[in-house]
Amino acid sequence: MPPDKTDVLQGTLALMILKTLQTLGPQHGYGIARRIEQMSGDQLALNQGTLYPALVRLEQAGWIRARWGASDNNRRAKFYSLTPRGARQLAAEARRWETVAGIVERFLAPSEPRS
C-alpha cells in the first residue's frame, strides 16, 4: 500500500522521536519536542501536543519504554528511552527513509536538457 500523506507524516514523527532518543538517551516529552524543533532549524512548527499520542503508540508497539524520574530542574517528569526492539525498528525505518528520500531526490534533480 502506498503511504499517504498522514502516514508519511506520522512515520516521520516516529522516526524523529526514535532518532532523538537514540542520540540523546532517555528524554521527557518536552526534551523530545525541543530537540525536534532545534534539529528542524525551527522550520517545523510542531504543535507539541501531537507528540503525546505518537509516544503512546510507540510505547504500545514496544519500541520505547517510559519511566518516571526527575528532570534537570528537578521536576517530576516521564522519561522515554529506546528499547532494543526500538533500535532495530529505527535502523529499518532509517534505511527505508533513505531509499525513499533518494528516489524523491532523483525525481526532483534538474533534468538533463533533451537534445
Binding site: Y30, Q48, G49, P53
Partner: protein, 898 residues
C-alpha cells in the same frame, strides 16, 4: 507484527487502566518546562504561560487523543453510556415501565411462537444425520390430484397430492436396483392385544423390516436389533419393546431379554429394548404411543402382489447421493416396473421427500401465519415505544441543543440515545423471555396433542438467540427515530424559550403515521381472527346427521388366533350386545366395523342394470353393521326398511343405502329392490331401505354415498367387526366400566380401547381449529390493547401540545363539545386512514389464511366491515377519552404556560 503488539498492549491497558492524573502530570510538566523556557527568553511569568499554551496546542484535545489511544476508550464510553442510560431510565419509572412492558409483550409472544416454529419446523428429527433421511412414497402420475386446488402445479406437487403407501413387492426392487440408498426400510402401524400378567391392554406398535433401526441410525439400550433371518415368513416371532413398556409392564427388569411378550395370543421372544429417547418414525403421525416392534416378515403372496400398497418407507441416502440423484434412480426403476407389471404399475412412480416434511406440512401454514401475527404485535409494540421515546426526545431536545451548542459531537449525543433504547430493549428482552416461558407452558398445555413434536417445544439456545436478535433489532429500530431527531438539534434551538415551539409539525406527522400503522395492523389481526371465528361458528352449525352426545363407543379388537372366523366374532358381539342391552341406562346397543368418526373404507361394487365405466365397478364407502346401528346413532329411515335380526346368513343378502347413494349412484328412481354385488362372482345384495345422509368423517367432511351391509351376512371385509356403541339417556361416560366388565365376563383376556363418546371425538377433531382460533383471537385482542394504549398516548400528547391553542379557542367562546369535536375530527381522519389501510392489507394477505378457513371466503365482506368498524369505534372512543382533558382546560392558565 507491531499491530498485534499494539492490540495486546491496549488490551492490557484496558484491563488495568492508568490513572488519568498521570497524563495530567506529564502534560503539566511539559507546560512548566515550556513556560520556564519563555521566562528565560525574558517574558513575564503570565505571558510565558500563555505562550507555552500556544506552543503546546489544545491540552484537552491532546488528552482526548491520548485517551483514545489507550485501552479501548469506545468500550468504556459504551459502558458509561449504559450506566448513564440506566440512571435516566430509573428516574422516569412510569415511562420505563410502560416501554419495557410493551416491548416485553411483543418480544415474549414472538419468542414463544418461535419456540414452536423451532421445535416443529427447524429442529432436525431426533436421528443422527437426520438430513440424509427421506420418506419414500408411491404416487399415480397423470391421475387427477386428490385436492381441487392443484391445477397446473408441478409433478412433485401432484405426487404429494396423490401420495399412496408403498407395495412391499416394489420395495425390494427399489432397494436392490438402486445404489443411492444405504438402506430402505418398510414400516407400518399395527395394533395388538397384550395379555398375560396384568390387565389385557391394546398396544400400538410398528411392523418393520429388519433394517429399520439401522436406517434411522439408532441402537437398542438393551439386547440387539432384528436379524435378516427373523424378517422372513414363518420365522419364530421376535419383538423389541420400548423403554416405556419395559418400565410399565416389566418393572425395568434386565432379565427381560429372552422373555416373552404375548401379543394376540402369540408369544413373541423379546430380543431388545429401545432407549427412552428413541422416537419411532410413525410416532410423529400418531397421538397414541408406539411401544413395540416386530419384523414385517412379508408373506410370499404379498411380495408377489405389486398392486397391494401397505407400508411406509424410510430411507437413508448413501454417501455421495443427493436427493436428485436418488430420485432419478427411483424414476428409472419405477419405469422398469411399469413395463414389467403394466396392470398394477403403469401409472405408478416412486418419489422421495425429506423425512418429516409430511409430518409438519399440515402445521406449517398455521405456524407461518402465527409468526406473521406476532410480528405485527411486535411492530405495534415498537411503534408505541417509538412514540414514547419521541415524546422524551422532544422534551429533551433543548438539552440536546444545549449540549451540541457547547461542543458535544452530534454522534456522541445520538449514540447516547441509541444506547438508551438498547438498554430498554435489553431489559425488555429479559422480561420478554420470562413471559415467553410462561406463554410456552400455557400453549403447550392448551395445544391439542395432534400437533407434532409438541414435547420438543423448549426455550433452547436458538430460541434465546432469536429473542436477543429481535430485541436488538427492535431496540435499534425504535431507537434510531429519536436519535435522528436529536441529530437534527440545532444550537439555535437552545436559545428558544418554549419547548412547544421546538416540537415541529413533522413530529405530529410522524406520530399520525405511526397511529395509522397501529390501527392498520390491528385491523389485519382482527380481520384474521374474525374469519377464523366465523369458520368455527359455521363448522359447529353443520348437521352431522347422527347423534353424538349420548353415544359411547369402544374398540374391541378380537385376535384372529382366538376368534378365527367371522362367525366366532359375530357370536362374541351378539353375546356382548345382548348382555349390555339389559344393563340399566343402556337405551340401544350396536356394533360395526367402525362407527362414524372412527375410520372408514371403500368397497368396489357392481350395480345391477348399471353400466359402470372401467372394470364395471365403483368404489363406495361401506360398513358392516348390526341391526341396532341406525337406532343407536339416531339415523332416520327415509324409505323402505332397516336391517333386522332376521337378516342372517341363510336369508337373502340385504343392504341399506344412504340418500346420497340413491341420488348419485343410482341416479334417482326407486332404490328399493335394486341389487349390487361386491365381486363379479359374488351373490347379489338387495337394497331394502334408504337412510338419511351422515357426515361420516365429521363436520368438515363432505357427504358421500354409503352402503350399510348386514354384519350377520358379511364375512369379507378389510377390517373385522371391532367397534361397539351404546346409546344412553344418562351420562355416557359412566357406561365405560359397564362395557369393560361385560367384555371381561365373556373373555377375560380381551382388552377394550378407544372408549370415547362420539362428541369427545368430534371435540378432539376440532381441537386444532379451536386452538388456532383462540390464539388468533388472543393475539388480535393483544394488538388492540396495545393500539389503544398507543392511541391514548398520542392523543393525550397532542392535546397537551395544543393546550394554548385550545385556551385561545375557549377564550374566544368555543365550548367543550366544540373543542372535542375539533380534536376528534383530526383523529377521525387518522383512524379512517388506518382502518382503510388495514382492510386493504387484509385483502391482499387474505389468500394466506384460506387453508385455515371453513366455508368462509377469505374476503368475507361482513367480517372486514365488522373488524374495521369495531377498531374505528374503539380508537375513537379512546381518543375521546384522552381528549376529554382538553375540555377542562382553563383558558387563562392555558395561555399562561407559555
Amino acid at each position: 507484527m507491531s499491530r498485534l503488539r499494539i492490540l495486546l498492549a491496549r488490551l492490557a491497558e484496558w484491563l488495568r487502566p492508568r490513572r488519568p492524573e498521570e497524563l495530567d502530570d506529564e502534560l503539566q510538566t511539559h507546560l512548566d518546562h515550556l513556560t520556564d523556557d519563555y521566562v528565560r527568553r525574558g517574558l513575564s511569568r503570565d505571558d510565558a504561560r500563555a505562550a507555552a499554551r500556544r506552543q503546546f496546542g489544545n491540552v484537552d484535545q491532546t488528552k482526548e487523543a491520548v485517551r483514545d489511544r489507550r485501552g479501548f476508550a469506545r468500550v468504556d464510553d459504551l459502558l458509561r453510556d449504559v450506566r448513564y442510560a440506566s440512571r435516566l431510565l430509573m428516574k422516569s419509572r412510569a415511562f420505563t415501565l410502560t416501554a419495557v412492558l410493551t416491548l416485553a409483550l411483543g418480544i415474549g409472544v414472538n419468542t414463544a411462537i418461535f419456540s414452536f416454529v423451532n421445535a416443529v419446523l427447524l429442529r432436525p428429527l431426533p436421528y443422527p444425520d437426520a438430513d440424509r433421511l427421506v420418506s419414500l412414497f408411491e404416487a399415480r402420475v397423470g391421475a387427477a390430484p386428490a385436492s381441487e386446488s392443484t391445477h397446473g402445479s408441478s409433478i412433485a406437487h401432484d405426487a404429494e397430492a396423490n401420495r399412496i403407501t408403498v407395495a412391499p413387492a416394489n420395495l425390494g426392487d427399489y432397494a436392490r436396483l438402486t445404489t443411492q440408498f444405504s438402506g430402505l426400510a418398510g414400516v407400518s402401524l399395527v395394533g395388538r392385544n397384550l395379555t398375560g400378567a396384568g390387565t389385557p391392554e391394546r398396544l400400538l406398535g410398528e411392523s418393520v423390516t429388519w433394517n429399520y433401526f439401522s436406517v434411522l441410525g439408532v441402537a437398542p439400550a438393551l439386547g440387539r436389533l432384528f436379524d435378516p433371518a427373523e424378517d422372513r415368513e414363518g420365522a419364530p416371532p421376535v419383538a423389541i419393546i420400548s423403554d416405556g413398556l419395559w418400565r410399565s409392564r416389566f418393572g425395568a427388569d434386565d432379565r427381560i431379554l429372552g422373555g416373552t411378550l404375548l401379543l394376540d395370543n402369540t408369544p413373541y421372544h423379546i430380543v431388545g429394548v429401545m432407549p427412552a429417547a428413541f422416537t419411532p418414525a410413525m410416532q410423529f403421525n400418531s397421538t397414541d404411543v408406539i411401544t413395540f416392534w416386530t419384523p414385517a416378515a412379508f408373506p410370499a403372496d404379498l411380495l408377489a402382489q405389486h398392486g397391494d400398497h401397505e407400508i411406509n418407507v424410510v430411507g437413508r441416502l448413501a454417501p455421495g447421493a443427493t436427493g436428485a440423484s436418488a430420485q432419478a434412480a427411483l424414476t428409472r426403476v419405477s419405469e422398469d416396473l411399469a413395463r414389467q407389471f403394466p396392470q398394477s404399475n403403469s401409472t405408478l412412480r416412486a418419489f422421495i421427500s425429506p423425512l418429516g416434511d409430511d409430518v409438519v406440512s399440515k402445521v406449517r401454514t398455521s405456524l407461518l401465519i402465527l409468526i406473521g401475527t406476532v410480528s405485527a404485535i411486535l411492530l405495534i409494540a415498537c411503534v408505541n415505544v417509538a412514540n414514547l421515546l419521541l415524546v422524551r426526545a422532544v422534551a429533551r431536545r433543548r438539552e440536546m441543543a444545549v449540549r451540541v451548542a457547547l461542543g458535544a459531537a452530534r454522534s456522541r449525543v445520538m449514540t447516547e440515545l441509541v444506547t438508551e433504547s438498547l438498554v430498554l430493549a435489553g431489559v425488555a428482552c429479559a422480561v420478554g423471555v420470562a413471559l415467553a416461558e410462561l406463554t410456552r407452558r400455557l400453549l403447550v398445555a392448551a395445544a391439542p396433542a395432534s400437533i407434532p413434536r409438541l414435547t420438543d417445544v423448549t426455550l433452547d439456545w436458538r430460541v434465546l438467540a432469536f429473542a436477543a436478535l429481535v430485541s436488538l433489532v427492535t431496540g435499534l429500530g425504535f431507537g434510531l427515530l429519536p436519535a435522528w431527531q436529536a441529530g437534527r438539534a440545532r444550537p439555535v434551538d437552545a436559545l428558544r424559550s418554549s419547548e412547544r415551539v421546538v416540537a415541529g409539525t413533522w413530529v405530529m406527522k410522524w406520530r399520525n403515521g405511526l397511529m395509522v400503522l397501529e390501527i392498520a395492523l390491528s385491523t389485519i389481526l382482527l380481520t384474521g381472527a374474525g374469519l377464523m371465528l366465523k369458520s368455527l361458528v359455521l363448522l359447529n352449525g353443520v348437521e352431522l346427521g347422527f347423534e353424538s352426545d349420548r353415544v359411547l363407543t369402544a374398540n374391541i379388537n378380537l385376535p384372529v388366533t382366538r376368534y378365527p372366523t367371522a362367525d366366532d366374532r359375530l357370536r362374541f358381539f351378539d353375546a356382548l350386545a345382548a348382555r349390555l342391552a339389559s344393563q340399566p341406562g343402556v337405551d340401544d346397543v350396536a356394533f360395526a366395523n367402525r362407527f362414524p368418526l372412527r375410520g372408514g373404507w371403500e368397497t368396489g361394487i357392481g350395480v345391477d342394470g348399471l353400466n359402470l365405466p372401467g372394470d364395471g365397478s365403483i368404489d363406495v364407502a361401506s360398513q358392516a353393521v348390526s341391526p341396532g346401528y341406525f337406532r343407536t346413532l339416531g339415523i332416520p329411515l327415509v324409505r323402505g326398511r332397516l336391517l333386522t335380526p332376521a337378516d342372517v346368513k341363510t336369508t337373502e343378502p340385504v343392504a341399506v343405502v344412504s340418500d346420497e347413494f340413491s341420488r348419485k349412484v343410482l341416479a334417482g328412481g326407486d332404490p328399493i329392490g335394486r341389487r349390487f354385488r361386491r365381486a363379479p362372482t359374488a351373490p347379489w345384495i338387495t337394497i331394502v331401505g334408504v337412510v338419511h345422509d351422515v357426515r361420516r368423517d365429521g363436520r368438515d367432511s363432505a357427504i358421500t354415498p354409503q352402503i350399510f351391509l348386514a354384519a350377520a351376512q358379511t364375512n369379507l371385509y378389510p377390517v373385522r367387526i371391532a367397534d361397539l356403541a351404546v346409546r344412553t339417556s344418562a351420562d355416557p361416560r359412566a357406561l365405560g366400566a359397564t362395557i369393560r366388565s361385560a367384555v371381561l365376563e365373556i373373555d377375560p383376556n380381551q382388552p377394550i380401547t378407544a372408549v370415547r363418546t362420539l362428541a369427545e371425538i368430534l371435540s378432539a377433531r376440532a381441537a386444532e381449529r379451536r386452538f388456532e382460533t383462540l390464539l388468533f383471537a388472543l393475539f388480535a385482542a393483544l394488538a388492540i390493547v396495545l393500539a389503544v394504549v398507543g392511541i391514548f398516548g398520542v392523543v393525550s400528547y397532542a392535546v397537551s401540545q395544543r393546550t394554548p391553542e385550545i385556551g385561545v379557542r375557549m377564550a374566544l367562546g368555543a365550548d367543550g363539545g366544540r373543542i372535542l369535536r375539533w380534536l376528534l375530527g383530526r383523529t377521525a381522519v387518522v383512524v379512517a386512514a388506518g382502518a382503510i389501510a388495514g382492510v386493504a392489507a387484509s385483502t391482499a394477505l387474505s389468500r394466506f389464511v384460506t387453508a385455515l378457513l371453513f366455508q368462509v371466503q377469505p374476503r368475507d365482506g361482513a367480517v372486514y366491515a365488522m373488524a374495521a368498524l369495531l377498531l374505528s369505534t374503539v380508537a375513537l372512543a379512546t381518543a375521546a377519552l384522552a381528549a376529554r382533558a382538553a375540555t377542562r382546560v382553563n383558558p387563562t392558565s392555558a395561555l399562561r404556560t407559555d
